[in-house]
Symmetry: C2
Subunit: 309 residues, 2 copies
């Protein structure tokens, strides 16, 4: 453990990769690892990029990274696919191999996956970000495939959240319905060369005009394949970072740590709950439920009373 | 509430739709609703159908339902898309409108979505199944889009789980990696007219031959668009149901109720945890974390001590 932490703090990629695996696998040593790394965290700027499948998030990231690296330094990409451990192995692997930036100096790319409980991926990703910070990375990009609750939890680890859409298929309207607008700091309408971009931009702008938020998210027209819109995105990111550093960043980070604490406390409590005595009470009461002698909420209360909670 | 429960128990679709909405929205009245409905549950055969996007799950369900209805009676389909509240509104809506079986007598179709915490959809789906049973449905089909942890939790509410794959894109190998084989009672290789089916079937069969499970999942070759393989699937379902009713069904249902109890107890505990006093302790301690004076696990322990857990 001591060696692993030392390697991590020296920024060695092998130690880092191993440390992230411990976190992903929920190894018992992960806890100590996080505690030891934690004093060295907090130094990175964190960028979240999300949006539906197929909108071109990876292309945007690939084009963006060279522009950001100059001002931000050592960069890491955490590619997360919470919707599908199924596709993770091959799909992400292939995508990562295909990426031009993989071999570039100073860019660390890692796909994140867990097969544990729901919410496990968000926790592992948050912890991996701590490890990256301890290893001296200055820019961490969370790239999530798909947009759902799991992705929202993942990008909550970011300082700035970029939501990528396309003009096609009513993405914009769907984004509003799904509450994506509430988490977006910057919106990108990608593939804008494929038609319908004007209407999509207009829809988004008018939806945003109703918001009373302090920061009004800019909407950027892009065609990332041709590099179009990428410099504008980089500028918007710089502006948002400046805005954050003028005050809101501290509150955002406080909220983030609060959410992380709530998560690990809930997990710890659940672990304690289902000790031998807890499981005995549970198994004793489940028969009443199976025979429909009582309802689930009544039985739940009885179990909690029995184990003195 | 009394009227709603009465309508539900009489099998009225309006009452049922409203009851499911209460569960989806986590309305405070949902708890009482479940308690009242619960004595009338347990009567349906539950079928889960899952697999990656685009493999043809909906087509299979559409073709299968007329065959099952004769022997099973009143049928309900719960279509769940945990990976994406984003696409839910329009996509599922469109799909449901397009389905021929929508208008058929005795088939109730409902798309499930929640915007709450992770795991919320699985809970809402399990509770919706209780409501359907109370309303007298005899066959409940859980159809989930995508395959991930959320989907696995959803199909855990099923008696029989059908995993649908295609010969393309190494689905079979990925399914094994993702642990899908462990939850599958029946495997369907759909779109088998598109080539590569023989190899896919062979791969799956040889993977299954390594399993020491009591029930050896049959692998069915299908082309659902042409109705091919659907009668075979119906037969396999009947065989699995017969197998279950010879003994394992009770254990499966016991395990399911146990998991449901664990979930509602964990949620109740978390609700209790973050009362005024809990939140005060949390907010007081988060500053130590923000200033890196302590690690998250140390702080979590301090909070638990402070609120006497």
């Amino acid at each position: 453990m001591k060696e692993l932490v030392q390697g991590l703090l020296r920024g060695e990629e092998r130690a880092l990769a191993r440390a992230i695996s411990l976190v992903e696998d929920r190894d018992p040593r992960a806890k100590e690892l996080i505690e030891r790394a934690f004093p060295h965290t907090g130094g990175a700027y964190r960028l979240g990029i999300t949006g539906p499948p197929g909108v071109g998030k990876s292309t945007i990231v690939d084009r963006l990274v060279p522009l950001l690296q100059e001002s931000h330094g050592r960069t890491a990409i955490l590619a997360c696919d919470p919707s599908s451990p199924f596709s993770e192995g091959a799909l992400l692997g292939d995508r990562i191999r295909m990426r031009g930036i993989d071999q570039r100096e100073g860019v660390f790319i890692r796909s994140m996956a867990t097969r544990g409980a729901l919410g496990g991926l968000a926790r592992a990703t948050h912890e991996a970000a701590f490890l990256l910070e301890a290893a001296g990375f200055e820019l961490i990009i969370f790239e999530t495939i798909g947009v759902g609750q799991a992705e929202v939890e993942i990008v909550e680890a970011a300082d700035t959240v970029v939501v990528v859409l396309t003009p096609q298929s009513g993405d914009a309207i769907q984004a509003m319905k799904a509450g994506l607008m509430e988490i977006a700091d910057i919106l990108v309408v990608n593939k804008s060369d494929q038609g319908g971009a004007d209407a999509a931009l207009q829809n988004l702008e008018s939806a945003l005009s109703l918001s009373s938020r302090d920061w009004r998210p800019p909407v950027i027209r892009a065609a990332a394949e041709d590099g179009e819109g990428i410099p504008e995105l980089a500028k918007a990111l710089a502006r948002h970072r400046q805005y954050l550093e003028g005050g809101p960043l501290l509150e955002r980070r406080r909220g983030r740590l609060r959410a992380f604490l709530k998560r690990i406390i809930a997990e710890e409590l659940e672990r304690q709950l289902w000790d031998e005595r807890g499981l005995e009470a549970l198994n004793g009461k489940v028969e009443a439920l199976l025979e429909r002698r009582a309802g689930p909420h009544q039985v739940a209360e009885e179990i909690l009373r029995e184990i003195g909670r």
